[in-house]
Amino acid sequence: MVAESASPLDRVFHALAHPARRAMVRTLASGERNLSELAEPLDMSFPAASKHVRVLERARLVRRRISGREHLCRLHAQPLRDVAKWTEQFRRHWEGAFQALDSLLEQMKSKERAAPRRRGSH
């Protein structure tokens, strides 16, 4: 849970940390949708979808308006532009994988030194 005192950026990261909410953001990038339209592709109940939309609203990524019985949601993209600056987390995640790749490449090179390939093979 993200505390009420969390900074705006914390809320945006928390909002985007869930795959269902990222899927909703993607859908809303194409235009306004009601709650059923957001819930349906995720095979999710209306209350569950509404909960996710509330998290997105608290992060100020989504604005909801009520029209009759419909809850219409619209994407507010400005907070996402702030998130885009934070490539550091993404970088660290991939750097971990590439460090494992470094180790694998060392093992592959050692194996080749131990059992050299025939000269002339590409």
Partner: protein
């Protein structure tokens, strides 16, 4: 590129570009990065996760499938797609569709891997191209969720140094 650490850039609204150098000849880097026999050794392993499927037919039009279970043994992540360009040992392009824990397909990206021969070393450039800015930004944020050591303290430190 003179260092081995990864650089991440967002040169356009819908792309992420990763560049890095590897201390190995290009043919080995190409094999390690494309052959399903090697991928589970490095590709992506949040703590406790295991890669349970790693299949691929590395040719134009060939399909691949990568799947992970979480620490409880439940399906956690599925990535699948198709190779659209295969030019060993320098270039390979594939589509990537991710599905996470029952949420259904979450959009598709195109991944372009370019490897440049530097003799005993190799320079890598990987470009991830998304359908929209929102999809790209969502991918950047997704590194936060898989038990990665992100810590709000580290984020605070980053915020303190960012003067924009």
């Amino acid at each position: 590129m003179s260092t081995a650490t990864l650089k991440v850039a967002t040169p356009t609204d819908t792309t992420i570009v990763m560049t890095r150098m590897f201390n190995a000849p290009r043919r080995l880097v190409y094999a390690a990065m494309t052959d399903p026999a090697w991928l589970p050794r490095w590709l992506f392993h949040p703590p406790g996760w295991s890669m349970v499927t790693c299949e691929g037919d590395v040719r134009v039009g060939g399909k691949y499938r990568w799947a992970w279970n979480d620490e409880h043994g439940h399906p956690a992540l599925l990535i699948h797609g198709e190779y659209t360009e295969v030019s060993p040992p320098g270039r390979i392009v594939h589509t990537e569709t991710m599905e996470m824990g029952g949420c259904g397909p979450m959009g598709t990206l195109v991944s372009t891997l370019e490897l440049i021969d530097r003799g005993e070393r190799t320079d890598m450039r990987m470009t991830l191209a998304f359908d929209s800015r929102e999809a790209r930004d969502g991918a950047l944020a997704s590194g936060m969720e898989h038990g990665m050591e992100a810590g709000y303290a580290q984020l605070d430190a980053l915020l303190a140094t960012d003067s924009r």
